[in-house]
């Protein structure tokens, strides 16, 4: 493995890892979110369109649009699940389809290209030898780590995932906390979408397909429990790196794309099996 290789892996996993931070919170809270991949697509289209429309080529508008999309999708997911008691699987599968459809509709299915350099720097540029996306990931990961470890809100996320009923009795506003995890997941997906768009230098409605699965697999491989209450930023990073190395390895060995997809399916199933066994031995 060369240094170049390593940078490749890190670049590749950065986008999944940022989504993974959101997945981490929803999983610790005892739910999961299937919509992030679609959020990437919608953000890609909209941020590309706004950067083209903005005559001053400033980043303000694209960033606002990005955060706005993340907040909106997160709020819809959170309200459906936390306040209207919908199962997360169905609710976020619904938004997954809806948001992807929206991205395709707005862009007419075509990519938006010719993006300004101030924007593409976010995805392709480096400060020193460190790529900008990696810097963004480090900042977001530290933020998430702090949130989980040092704030009441973070601890309450563990509480609702550990036992939602007991959390309510303990005075935790479980609905609000759950809503927060989905909004956070939405915003993380949106940020990932924006820098990925900058990296590929065009807005693509189909960008980010199945990223949510990469993020969830990464979490579970790292030891985040699907039943809630267990997980940390550290476990997410470890798990995502495993996935990155596997992907990179398969690329290097010229494994075909179809075969890679099969392998990813197998890995996801194995990861979930691992989680089942872990929680069984804990009993």
């Amino acid at each position: 493995m060369t240094a170049n290789n390593l940078i490749n892996i890190v670049r590749q996993v950065t986008f999944w890892a940022i989504i993974g931070l959101g997945a981490l919170l929803t999983l610790i809270g005892g739910d999961f979110d299937l919509s992030p991949g679609s959020v990437v697509g919608l953000v890609s289209v909209l941020s590309a369109m706004t950067i083209q429309a903005d005559l001053h080529n400033s980043l303000v508008l694209p960033i606002l649009v990005t955060i706005g999309v993340g907040l909106a999708v997160g709020l819809v997911n959170g309200i459906l699940i936390a306040y209207l008691n919908m199962p997360a699987f169905i609710a976020t599968l619904g938004t997954q389809l809806l948001v992807r459809g929206l991205a395709l509709y707005i862009s007419n299915g075509r990519p938006v290209s010719n993006l300004d350099e101030t924007f593409t720097f976010l995805g392709g540029g480096s400060i020193g030898i460190i790529p900008v996306p990696v810097i963004i990931l480090i900042i977001l990961a530290l933020l998430t780590w702090y949130l989980l470890k040092y704030t009441r809100l973070g601890r309450h996320i563990y509480a609702i995932g550990g036992n939602a009923q007991a959390a309510v009795v303990s005075g935790v506003n479980a609905r609000a906390v759950k809503l927060f995890t989905f909004v956070f997941a939405g915003v993380m997906a949106a940020i990932s979408g924006m820098i990925l768009t900058a990296r590929v230098a065009s807005g693509q409605p189909s960008l980010g397909e199945q990223f949510e699965m990469k993020a969830i697999s990464g979490c579970v491989i790292g030891g985040v429990s699907l039943k809630g209450g267990i997980g940390s930023v550290y476990s997410l990073i470890c798990g995502i790196l495993v996935i990155g190395v596997l992907n990179n390895g398969m690329d290097l060995m010229n494994v075909s794309g179809y075969m890679q997809q099969i392998a990813e399916g197998v890995i996801l199933i194995l990861a979930v099996l691992l989680d089942v066994f872990r929680s069984r031995t804990a009993k």
């Binding site: 009441r152 563990y158 509480a159 995932g161 550990g162 007991a166 009795v169 303990s170 267990i230």
Partner: protein
Amino acid sequence: MSNTPLLKMEHIRKVFPGVVALDDVSLTIREGTVHALMGENGAGKSTLMKILTGVYARTEGTILWQGKELDTSSITNVLESGITMIFQELNPIRTMKVCENIYVGREPYKIRGILLDRKKIVEDTRALFEDLGITDIDPNEMVGNLTVAKMQMVEIAKAISYNAKLIIMDEPTSAISEKECQHLFRMVNNLKQRGIAFIFITHKMDEVFQISDEITIMRDGTYVGTYDAGKITHDELVRLMVGREITEMFPKEEAKITDVKLEVSGLTVPGLLEDISFQVHKGEILGFAGLMGAGRTEVMEALFGIRKISSGTIKIDGKEVQIHSPKDAIKYKIAFLTEDRRTTGCFLPLSVRDNIMVCSYDQVSNGMKKISIGKEKKVCKEQIERYAIKTPGQDQIIGNLSGGNQQKVLIARWLLTQPDIIILDEPTRGIDVGSKSEIHKMISRLAGQGVAVIMISSELPEVLGMSDRIMVMYEGKITGEVLREEANQEVIMRYASGITDEAV
């Protein structure tokens, strides 16, 4: 028929790890009779029935069914022998029709395994209902649309269609109206004529005398006796059910009882609680007694903001307060140690520390709302020492602790909030004797510090031993208030069975 009893259970003993649940219990049921099985919560009635129906394996004893050894190795075997149990929580398949429910698993086919004979299912059901005199249930109705009483009828009909000779009903009248109850009893009387026997598990005295021929009383897992229903009185029955002296010692210390801390008046939750009013003073331990399902937990849930109330007021220190959620309740310095540790208490995957701290993060945070891990560990260490929690460390997952230690962790959690009012719902259920007396000492100490304590307990000796005053509930209402000096098991059992106006 012959003199061989239908069922003869003799010298039944059941040992669960560490506990003798049943010791030398006998039960004899004659054909065509109704037999009431009575006793306090935890007397072992359900355990005995679970042994009979093959849910539990007995440790010792014999079961003779029509004079022959009964094979209780599987639930199906017992069912095929002609014994059916109808549970308190009825479990029909609500999304299926009445007739489909009755014949589920043995549907008649036109072509075996392929084409159902729907017409025959309906006709058979109709014939069955006609035979039993059930006229008001349509075989094509969805079971989910039926009232509880009608579902019971369907369950009985199903039992009969299995050629049941003995039908066990666990608290059959707890969820149905007086009229429906009479209807049920008429049906039971009819079936008696055909030689079918019934075992009724019930707490309601008047019904026992109305319907049963014989009464067997159990107490603390032992057999007290079997009596002819015509030759025993209410009072004798109550005395036999509780009939034990208080042998355990409760470390109740004298505490100074001062001003009224909490005043609840007219608390009502439609269908569950009716006009609940009581007061608790500082330094007082107020006991709540009653049978399971009497509504004691529901009162506390309403008070703590878990359950919505339709009317009623709550006053703390004389001022009316609005409590809409547990968060509000905690703000008013109320703590609630819930009944069920696993479902509403412990965060099983989390550490002892997380479990202790969950309500009190503000205490260990700085001005920027940042939690100080150091402070957190220090506070936890103090709590673990103060309440003598046996754990290898703060990071231990709470799921790995014993029940008694889990309970102590939860107590540590609530006392860390420094409550003025603490509600303890069955604080010592399922806990070893050692932890139990530690918890009792702690309750006394709290009262001594001026905390207003409300304690729900189904163990009468515990209620009697610990409380300064006892409220007794029956079917969502408070039926009696007893002072410590006047309290004894008979008085409380009488109120708890809904007998309010009879002379003592």
